[in-house]
Each structure stands twice: as structure tokens, then as C-alpha cells.
Amino acid sequence: MAEAPTRRDFIGCVAAGLAVSAATVREAEAFFLPGPPPSVASAPSRPVVAIARREGMIDRPAGKLDMRKVQEALGAAVSRAAGEKTAVDAFQKLFTPRDVVGIKVNCLAGRGLSTRPEVAAQIALWLQVAGVPPGQIVIWDRTERELKSAGFSPSQSGPRVIGTDGDYEGRLREWGPGASRFARLLVEDLTAVIDVPLLKDHGLSGVSLGMKNLYGTIHNPNKLHDEGCNPFLPHLSAFPLLREKLRLTVVDGTTGQCHGGPGFSPAWAWEYQGFLASTDIVAVDAAGWRVLEERRKSQGLKSLALEGREPRYIRDAQKLGLGVGDEARVDVRNV
């Protein structure tokens, strides 16, 4: 008789990024994830940004993640963002078993301020429970070097963990103000993308959230940082190749950084211990920006506008019809 996994087993699997049977995970999830209140199951009339924070998510002094709290918060954020009761329902709503799903992480700043491997692995696990085969899930970033520096173990099997490295398609695609070669993985393999950026400051673009993380899908982001990355970020994000594949953005805010980004600057990093999720990349970027501004204020820092690096690209993305950045028109819910 199969033995039910203990919480310890389950967390071990998640932390190792292993593929486990769907039944096992469903059972585990049902056990560990409290269902959100019934009201959230109704379809949102306007974009929803779900913010879920849990005290004690980072286990001190070791600094490890408390995976139970990660699951609680991540599950609550994702399910609310999709208007579903559970995380698995959310993933089932947003993805089909035929999808090949890329989880685009952000590892530029190395350990300390990169998408946590445990968070990416948890998302991969829920995708599997939702019916996406492990071989159709890819956790990826620009280079293997960066992935390793953030604590990921590159792998070619199960949910793959890979860097684009030099593997960009040969052709150049014009996307309005820019032209790029896109990661071959994105163009040829993936049918869906989950964007998993950080909650962090950026010295040139103001903030680095969902849209900024998409720079990691093209070969020439270094050419696109003038004028606070505007109008490049909105146009790139609106390019059909990305727009049509992007289904969900989950900001990994286990650790945030309100100044000195995009590199890791411990003086300005803080344990936000939460996630922001939405199916609207503009709405989630706007909400993340607000969180960063609040943190800046509490630390005695000037606003980004006063520093001359307000992320105007978020408003311009709304003008482009990519999503809703206007706070009054977004349903921001703490869950």
C-alpha cells in the first residue's frame, strides 16, 4: 500500500525540484493548503493582483525558506490571481496538459536576490499536479552560469533547468522600437510562460519586475536601457511572441530590495516574505512598484520620481493596451 507523504517528504521534494506523482502532490497540497474564502472563486471583473505575505517565511537564523509558508502564500496568491479556489485549480485553468511551460526566473544578482529555486520548483510541482508532464516544464534564464550562481542545478530531465546561453534563433525580429533574436526555447518549444521576477529596484528602469524580466528572453537587452528602458519594455512585452504565451506573473518577494538594484545590495534588501501574482503583467508591475516605493519611504529614501527614475514604462504599457497599471482600476487584494 502506498504510504501518504509526510510534510517533511513533500517539502524535501519541492526543495530538490523533483518530479513526483501527481496524486502524491495533490494529496499533499490538499493537506497543506488552506482554501481561500469562497468569494475569490468568482471571476474578477477587473485585473486582480493578489499579494500574499507570511511572517516567518524565512526561517532565521539559517535563512532557509519555511516551505509550508511558501506554499501557503504562493498558493493563495496564484489561486486568487486566477480566481480559483486552489493553486492547482489555478494552474489547471491557465494551462493544459499539452502546454510546454517555461518558468522564466531571474538570476542576474546571484544568491541573495534571485528567484528562489524552491519557489520555481513549487510552481513546477503544481503544474505537474495540474496535469502538465514534467518533461514539458522548463525552468530557464539567460545563462547556466547565472542559474548556478542563484543555486539552481541545471538539469536536462524532469522539469528541465536550463540557460539559453547562446541558443537564440538565427533570425532577427522587429518589435517596434527594437529588434532582437529571441531564445529558441521560447520560439520553438514553449507554448506558455510563467514570469517569475524579483521585487527589486533598478538603477536605470526604476524597478525590475515582470516586464523587466522579459529582457531575459532576447539576445540584446544591453541595447535597451536608455531612457529608463522606455519605450522598449512595453513594446517588447506587447510583442505577440511573448504576450500570447505569458499566462501568469508571480513576483518572488521572499526577499525584496528597494534601492541599489539590480545587483544584490544587502543594505537595501529586506525580507518582504511574500508574493505578488496576476495574469496582468502591467497590474502586477504597478503593484510591485508601489510596494517598493513604500519601502523606500520607510527607509528615508526619496521616491523614484524624485530620483529621476520613475518607471514611466508601466503607465506607457497601459497606454499600449498591454494591461492595467492604474491602481484605481486594479483589484489589489491581500490574501
Binding site: 542576474l108 547556466e144 552560469r145 536605470l204 539576445h219 540584446n220 544591453n222 541595447k223 539590480p262 544584490f264
Partner: protein
């Protein structure tokens, strides 16, 4: 890692396979062989010409962009990276293209005519010209191209073994790999190998002075003569390029100018006239100017090739402003490829495409009227 011997073998092998056309234009780059280098193809070395800023930021002082770069990020050129508050070049000794060309291909028409030149480039450029012919390497980051390990000493060694008196840093933008350029030029000192660059001229004063102390010649691609064109089509600015040209004159470095004439974008005769006036007045009438023919490339696939008649009018216009050495490029067999004596009109150097057909200069002068012809002749 590929040894120098292996590198030379592949260079020779590719040479045999790729000889084509007049002269000895040969692509000898051993393409298809990736040399594994630490960190997935990167070879970081401390960069020069930068200053440290608070919070582990740096500001690069190599080109006028003056990129402010945070930890873990790169400058616009994609080849200079901040690591914990120190700037590194990722391309020193890491060319992605190595070829043996005639000097006429650069084009330098007043530098050792008919000489073979070992030409090399690393990935990266500080511009993003919409008509770039080499965008696959110029607009790439170093890890996105196949690169070789070729130290400055080995580059000089290869040049000597191939009978090339010159090394040209070209194809992409040498400014962004200035540390490598400088080391190649120094390595060639005393060995009879001189170094030249083919650049967009967008470089700051100090690195330019440092380079010019070692270089034999500098070719500047003057992409047009109005700021709007520069901003919209190159990603750079005109003013600093003009400043570089003036500085080159003061530094006494042999300089030639190339203008790629692109239909509808920079081909008005008014603009050509202004450009020629600038050269005559600020640089001198003896500076060679090459008007070259555009062919559709990169993001300008929608435009036709430049009509030869446009180039001819440009040459005529420039000469009317007083320029004495005005050439046409990418028009093989056109008389505008030849050098004529401004004193007596004698044909001094006859060329076809990249091939040297005749060189009648005597000690750098016209054999008939003895007029001195400026250039690097010995």
C-alpha cells in the same frame, strides 16, 4: 583550449578552402570550433578607463555613452561587466572572427597599399546601426558567438607567419575592446607589425590618446552628417565623432574617413557638401574620404542598394569643396577606386575591388611632378 599551433592549422586550412575573388580576400576565421573558456566562454579581465561610484556602481569612460553600470550588469556594448564594483572586459584575447584581408578592404587606401592584414574582431559594439553588415557579431554578447583564444602575442605571431605587416581591429567596434587593441599594438612593437583600427570614432579623449600612442592608422566611419540620422539610425551621436576626428588630427595619427551612403537616409548632396566642408576646414583637404555603397542588411532590408550615380555625385560634390582624395567603395572597377595625383592628375595607385593593380608612387610622391602624397607608405 585550442593551442596556437592548432589555431594556425585551422587558419591555414580555412584559407585553402576560402580563397575567392581578386586579390587575396580570404576568410580564414576557423568558424565552427568553439574554444571552451572558463565561465561558459567568458574570459573576464580587469578593464581600463572607468571610475568607481557609490554602492558598487561603476562608470565606464571608454566611449561617450559613459555607461553607469551596477553590479552584475553590462554596458550598452555588452562586453564590459561590473562585478562587485570592478569593471571587467569579457573579450580580451577572445576574437570571434579572424581573417586575412587586403588593406584595401578596410578600406585604407593610403596605408601600405596591397598589404595583407590580419583582421580580427570580438563581439560587441557601442552603436546599433540599422544597416550593420556584421550585426550577428557586433550586436551579440560574447557568450552568443563562437570565440577563439588568441593572445596579443599570438595575434602578432599569426600576422608574421602569414606575412602580414599589419593587424586590423575591425568588423565590430574596436573601441569596446580597447584593452585588447592596445595590447596587440604593444606586442607588435619592435616586431615590425603595426596595428590599425576601423572604428565608428565614438571614443572618449583619454582612451583615444592612449590608443593613438600605439596605432599606425585610424579609420573612422562617419555615418552621416546630421544628429537626427545618428540618433535614429546608429544609436550614437555625431558630435563626439567629429570631436574624435579633430583630436586625431592633433594627435597626428593617420586617418581616413568612410561614409556609407544609404539611399534616402544620408544621401542628400546638401549633407555631403556639409560633411566635405567640415573635413576640409577642420581636418584638412588631404584626408581621404571614401563614399561606399550600401547594400540592404540587418534592419534596413527595405532599402535598395545605393545607385552608383549617387556615389559619383557625392564624390564630385566633395571634390568641389576642396577634398583631394575622394574614393568610391563597393563599386569594383570604377575609376573612383584609384588614387590620382592632385598636382598633375597622374594615376598613382590603380585598384580593382580590393586588389591592388599598380602602385606608381616613388617614396610616397608622384613620380612625375614629385608632389608628396600623404599616407603611411613604408
Amino acid at each position: 583550449m585550442k593551442s596556437r599551433r592548432e589555431f594556425l592549422c585551422s587558419l591555414g586550412g580555412a584559407c585553402v578552402a576560402a580563397v575567392a575573388g581578386p586579390g587575396f580576400a580570404q576568410d580564414v576565421a576557423p568558424r565552427g570550433t568553439m574554444v571552451p573558456v572558463e565561465e561558459g566562454g567568458l574570459a573576464p579581465r580587469p578593464a581600463g578607463w572607468y571610475k568607481k561610484l557609490p554602492e558598487e556602481w561603476v562608470q565606464c569612460g571608454l566611449c561617450p555613452r559613459g555607461c553607469r553600470i551596477s553590479d552584475a550588469e553590462r554596458g550598452t556594448c555588452g562586453v564590459r561587466e561590473n562585478r562587485k564594483g570592478n569593471l571587467y572586459t569579457l573579450v580580451h584575447s577572445r576574437p570571434c572572427t579572424v581573417a586575412l584581408d587586403p588593406i584595401e578592404k578596410k578600406p585604407f587606401f593610403h596605408v601600405l597599399p596591397g598589404s595583407p592584414v590580419l583582421s580580427l574582431a570580438t563581439a560587441g559594439c557601442n552603436f546599433d546601426c540599422k544597416g550593420c553588415q556584421n550585426w550577428e557579431i557586433a550586436q551579440a554578447r560574447p557568450e552568443q558567438v563562437r570565440s577563439f583564444t588568441l593572445t596579443p602575442e599570438d595575434a602578432i605571431g599569426v600576422a608574421r607567419e602569414r606575412g602580414a605587416p599589419l593587424v586590423a581591429c575591425t568588423y565590430t567596434e574596436p573601441t569596446v575592446f580597447s584593452e585588447y587593441v592596445l595590447d596587440i599594438a604593444r606586442a607588435g612593437r619592435g616586431k615590425g607589425i603595426r596595428t590599425v583600427v576601423v572604428s565608428n570614432g565614438s571614443i572618449q579623449q583619454q582612451p583615444l590618446a592612449d590608443l593613438c600612442a600605439e596605432l599606425a592608422a585610424y579609420k573612422v566611419d562617419l555615418k552621416g552628417f546630421n544628429e537626427t540620422f545618428y540618433r535614429q539610425h546608429t544609436g550614437g551621436e555625431l558630435k563626439p565623432v567629429l570631436e574624435t576626428l579633430r583630436r586625431l588630427m592633433k594627435l597626428g595619427t593617420w586617418t581616413e574617413i568612410v561614409v556609407l551612403v544609404i539611399p534616402t537616409l544620408n544621401d542628400s548632396m546638401e549633407e555631403i557638401k556639409s560633411l566635405a566642408r567640415f573635413v576640409v576646414n577642420d581636418l584638412g583637404p588631404e584626408v581621404p574620404v571614401h563614399f561606399t555603397r550600401f547594400h540592404p542588411a540587418y534592419r534596413l532590408m527595405n532599402l535598395p542598394s545605393t545607385p552608383v550615380s549617387t556615389l559619383e555625385r557625392a564624390r564630385q560634390t566633395a571634390m568641389e569643396q576642396g577634398l583631394r582624395f575622394v574614393y568610391l567603395g563597393n563599386v569594383p572597377g570604377h575609376p573612383g577606386e584609384n588614387t590620382f595625383c592632385p598636382g598633375c592628375g597622374r594615376t598613382l595607385i590603380k585598384r580593382r575591388g580590393m586588389a591592388l593593380l599598380e602602385n606608381n608612387l616613388k617614396g610616397g610622391s608622384c613620380p612625375d611632378c614629385r608632389r608628396k602624397i600623404p599616407g603611411v607608405w613604408v
